[in-house]
Symmetry: C2
Subunit: 369 residues, 2 copies
């Protein structure tokens, strides 16, 4: 099977597992962090640089690419892989999260989401069928079902209705999808309610998608709540399929997610905080913009061997940031992605080696959580 | 001698010559285009990318680095090479051009230039002695004498007085310089007046600098005027020393300069127009932002083998530019530098091969000049 997922090893004390997901563009070793290339570009990096960071798969955003440059154009270009020159796997989200982030600009019906473009105010409707067509045009290896990312906070009633519609939309996506070289993942919703999360996990799991995602978390709730809900959901999702926690995360959330049986993650934090001058390091976050680094001639992270850490100092990168040089954000983006990829590689080795709980404990101490 | 310049071959029909300039950080094959790293960074590129473009030497700006992060800090970092991680030659200008661009914010005396920082309004004085100290702290291989870049237009009297002061400052720079591993270049001024240019060329040449620069051109005058003045100046500058035309230029000006015996050039145009969405190509300039490239799936320049042209299309780069993705400017900057470096390499080969006039003619036709 083209998208077979093999669980190679499970942690004896936690839900953590190490696996391999086979895709038409190569194997993905899990657990895996996916850098985000919203508009078919990881911000401030070439795909060569992203690859040198060790990234195995990128995420691109259906909503953004549908509006600009348009999925038809991407198809004409030969699909996303060729358009952005990335020949490893790609995952596209469904646009659900972005559309629902539009707030007042969108209206929801059983049919789909009606919204105005954030670019030019033009009117659009995304339905499950339309989203499948768009994602097929984009041509990613893994495509996501169209869902409603339930707002936070939301009432029980709103959340239940929203979740049920997400389930109906998931079925419509399954029916609408015609491509054979793409894996469609379903998305568990259910907001902040454990019983709805359970119901959603069972429903989505029963639809037999080749992979299952968990959406609507990391939307503003306390981290403890997210972990609690993950513990409800992941055991209900089939063991031999990859589990993907959408929009997560920070180093602590990644390790907590792995511990609870999650295999795939994506997050824009790495590149966003980079452009604001912050580095993720083995000793925790460092705001390199700060004056304390003006004469600090050590690398961003002494334990890191990325291009930025091998060749440049905190003092230099701080200078770039203060001087408004794009290169500052480039080097920090590169480092933060590399750092996160290595954190995940370390977790995988730890799972395979049978010492994941110790690995997590040590990382939490060093990272200051 | 550490900075020996060898003329390998001279064109029989023009003043063009091919040479090699030896420096402590390696040889520079001339004629050469120097990308500009104003604030110790070539805008939007890593030094690795700049090196992959074939750049042999970078220019950095003394004025900017003196104000931020400060030349003392750069010295503490081990000098510019180490600070910015570039182990090939570097040239620093003297700050003359930047200070005189400040207009109302600066005042000139025999002693030096008194000005207010464009960053915070703080008061500063740059003298020839101070500039030598700064450039020694920065530690470039080639350093420039402090001059006045005569404004355009200027009266004969103003230009003559300014030029004479530049000569006195050049002597003061020579006396003040104590470093032994740096080559100090003098700068010819004289504005738009052929007799003053002649006088300045003779004066600067007689001071026996290891290299001679021509400043105060490409400041707004017609190109024909620049070429005419170059023809006055270059024959008066010693044959066995490199000649550097400051702040030039566009592909046509580079080839015209080479034809008139210039060996070194620098220009910010390549990276500046890149960030605005324009590519230099073998068929002339292309404004890749334009709608006509929306579905153009050919490379920026079909004759180019840079990273951008090998891997990305005009349509993709246009998408990046329209979407505000930094990567668009990165790829165009990389291409424009690569293009210019290759243009110069081609000129050098043509001189060595005895067909420079034909090379220039062909390039002018293809580039649309």
């Amino acid at each position: 099977m083209m998208f077979e997922f093999e669980v190679l090893k499970e942690c004896e004390k936690t839900g953590a597992r190490a696996g391999v997901l086979h895709t038409p563009h190569g194997d993905i070793k899990t657990p895996v962090y996916m850098p985000v290339g919203t508009q078919a570009a990881v911000k401030a990096l070439t795909t060569q640089q992203v690859e040198e960071c060790g990234a195995q798969i990128l995420l691109a955003n259906t909503y953004h690419l549908y509006l600009r440059p348009g999925d038809e154009l991407v198809k004409e270009a030969g699909g996303l892989h060729q358009f952005m020159h990335w020949d490893k796997p790609i995952l596209t989200d469904s646009g659900g999260f972005q559309v629902f982030s539009l707030g007042e600009l969108r209206r929801l019906t059983e049919k789909g989401a009606h919204f105005k473009s954030h670019l030019d105010g033009s009117a659009h409707t995304l339905t499950p069928e339309k989203v499948m067509q768009i994602e097929q045009n984009l041509g990613a290896d893994i495509i996501m079902a169209f869902d409603e990312c339930t707002p936070y906070p939301a009432t029980y009633e709103y959340t239940k209705n929203s979740m049920e519609r997400t389930h109906r939309w998931a079925e419509r996506c399954q029916k609408a999808k015609t491509s054979r070289n793409q894996a469609l993942f379903g998305i568990v919703q259910g907001g902040m309610f454990a019983d709805l999360r359970r119901e959603s996990a069972l429903a989505i799991n029963s639809m037999d998608f080749p992979g299952n995602a968990i959406g609507g978390l990391s939307v503003g709730e306390p981290k403890a709540k997210m972990y609690e809900l993950l513990e409800v959901v992941t055991p209900l999702l089939e063991r031999n399929k990859p589990r993907y926690l959408m929009g997560v995360g920070t180093p602590d959330c990644l390790l907590e997610g792995i511990e609870r049986g999650v295999d795939m993650f994506d997050c824009v934090l790495q590149t966003r905080i980079a452009r604001n001058g912050t580095a993720l390091t083995s000793q925790g976050k460092k705001v390199v913009r700060n004056a304390e680094y003006a004469r600090d001639f050590s690398p961003l992270d002494p334990e890191c061997d990325c291009y930025a850490c091998r060749n440049f100092t905190r003092a230099y990168i701080r200078h770039l940031l203060k001087a408004g040089e794009i290169l500052g954000g480039m080097l920090l983006s590169l480092h933060n992605i590399h750092f996160t990829v290595k954190l995940m590689e370390g977790a995988r080795e730890a799972i395979l080696g049978g010492y994941f709980p110790e690995y997590k404990k040590e990382k939490f101490q060093k990272l200051g959580y």
